[in-house]
Amino acid sequence: MARKYGITGNCVNTASATLPLANIIGTAAVRTMLYDITLGSDATPADNSASYKIQRETTVGTWGGSGGAAITPQALDPADPSAVTTANQGVCSAGPTLTSGAFLLSWAQNMRATFRWVAAPGSELKIPATASNGLALMSLVVGGSAVNMNFCFLIEE
């Protein structure tokens, strides 16, 4: 049975087509699968909106910008070993190599709302079992001001 892990973090959703807000990086050992996304804001409510996309990437990028940090996926079952998948949040100082046009999920959201997407079993977003390949959370357009957004990814490996 697949092992499940949670990845939580936050980042200011500054619009960029090259610098993600967060990413999930697989390994050559497993095909990591993303099956649940929750996104909401903890900032003071206002009518700020943004469009988000999940995009494929083939390198990790450098997460040395303000708020940039590595995230250790936490096992949902405490008996499971540590994840081989890694994740990052914050602002990239050097963006990863994004696969052009490989948008796997798109949505627009007002910061007052909370977005959740859940995949049906067997319909998860799959990361190939290739080193440094992964999925990036992109904020392509921001209406109003950029605000802090909190995310939670649930993955299987």
Partner: protein
């Protein structure tokens, strides 16, 4: 908001607004590229159906030609496909 229920959904989107009201809609998954998209009746968006995979496609030109996503993954992992 809009009618978006589909048979055998590949995913579900749940939006909760500031008043706690929830809106739910379904997504379908492209059998050729793995992408999810909202299926909105009457939207006018052209999608496709692969009779070899027996599943819907997202409608992108690159997904018009049959190659199951699992096959693409295998080729990519072996280095025989440049991009997914």
């Amino acid at each position: 908001m809009f009618e978006s229920g589909v048979r055998k959904p590949s995913g579900t989107i749940i939006l909760t607004d500031a008043r706690g009201n929830t809106t739910q809609s379904d997504t379908k998954q492209c059998v050729h590229c793995n992408a999810h998209f909202q299926w909105v009746k009457g939207s006018g968006t052209h999608r496709g159906f692969c009779q070899l995979c027996m599943g819907v496609t997202c409608g992108a030109p690159k997904c018009m030609e049959h190659m199951a996503f699992e096959k693409k993954l295998e080729l990519y992992e072996k280095g025989k496909l440049i991009t997914l």
